[in-house]
């Protein structure tokens, strides 16, 4: 959870609004520390699937492992806002770019990004709910929350010129705090990751 304040100004088609004292759901908290997702990955037309295990170790650390359904472990990572540590990868996944991309997606999914700016709350006529914008040195992150539940509907990762790079779409079962369906779409290369909670 976080709270923030901001000045009123127009940002692109969005209007900055007062967000003093507002707080938002984190995806993972201590009460729901272990998560398993059936994972389907489509990369440049090739498809593979497995199970993603996530453990929120503390507020700033997430541990993630990916196995095939029959149990072969592909990788295990420790992710913090500033660093990814590879605990294990199979030799076939030695391409560091792939592991880095996966670690980045998990960091964004677990809301562990380190930001360079304070949150800005945005409103747009066409968008229901609330939008929170945060920036790293190279990217802009927009978090779209449902008005009433304050659950995350979507995360947009944009370039510093506001070109969309990655979109996370979330769906929830009734009364659930954790999304049971997540679609991660990379727009600058052909990678889609679909997570279904087990």
């Amino acid at each position: 959870m976080f709270s923030a304040s901001c000045a009123k100004k127009n940002i692109q088609n969005f209007t900055a609004v007062d967000c003093v004292g507002k707080s938002y759901w984190k995806l993972f908290d201590d009460k729901h520390a272990n998560h398993q997702y059936k994972t389907e990955v489509t990369i440049y037309g090739k498809y593979f699937s497995g199970i993603l295990f996530l453990k929120q170790v503390n507020d700033t650390t997430c541990r993630a492992a990916f196995t095939t359904v029959p149990g072969a472990k592909f990788f295990e990572l420790l992710i913090t806002p500033v660093k990814d540590s590879v605990i294990y990868t199979i030799p076939q996944m030695s391409n560091p770019a792939v592991v880095t991309a996966i670690a980045k997606d998990i960091r964004t999914f677990a809301l562990l990004n380190k930001f360079a700016t304070a949150p800005i709350c945005l409103k747009q006529d066409k968008v229901e709910g609330e939008i929170v914008e945060r920036k790293t040195h190279q990217e802009v992150y927009r978090y779209f929350y449902k008005e009433h539940s304050r659950k995350l509907n979507q995360i947009q990762v944009l370039s510093d010129r506001l070109k969309p790079k990655t979109i996370f779409d979330f769906a929830y079962a009734t009364n659930a705090l954790i999304p049971n369906d997540v679609l991660i779409s990379h727009l600058n290369f052909k990678l889609k990751i679909h997570l279904t909670q087990l």
């Binding site: 520390a33 498809y47 295990f53 453990k55 492992a65 359904v69 472990k73 199979i90 087990l198």
Partner: protein, 212 residues
Amino acid sequence: MKCTALSLFLLFISFIAAFAQDAGFKPMKDVAGFTSKFDAASKKLTSINSDFVQEKHLSMMEADIKSNGKFKYKKDNKVRLEYTSPFQYLMVLNNGKMYIKDGNKVNKFDTNSNKMFRQINDMMVSTLRGDVLHSKNYAVKYFENETHYLLELKPQEKAIKEMMQTIKIQIDKKKLFVTTIQMMEPSGDYTKMIFQNITQNAALNDSEFMVK
């Protein structure tokens, strides 16, 4: 005093040694006799039809993750592993090809062109055929208790060693069929498959080892 210290040390060593192998299992007394019996049983084996329970242990998770399904084997090299819970997933090995069906998507792999898939294929099929006892790819240690034999297979190939430290196979002493396969990773994490309701040598249609 020295004697007491030595006794305690020996007791400690034997305690550690007992836990170094699976509880209740001791080194096998008659390895040649077992090998001969298992080879003979494997030669007579034409098919296996069973249920299975899979337990995935990850040290980072608080509880093991369980899934289950149906397992089928047909001589010489056809394997069908069908997960039915918590979701549908099908893996078929058939004459050097691996098929994976996940939902409506079917992927086909040539196990000869992928070292990891080939090793999985070889390990499963050679275990069921009994060839694993004579394979150069594994160093085998033999144990037994009252009801089961236990084989501990250590992979010899470097790439496989990085993924799998040991494969433990339990075999029913009376019926001489595999009841448990446990694949231990170097980190201590493991995947355990427990086979239940096993039927041997029933007729299985070849179409069960095809995926569309």
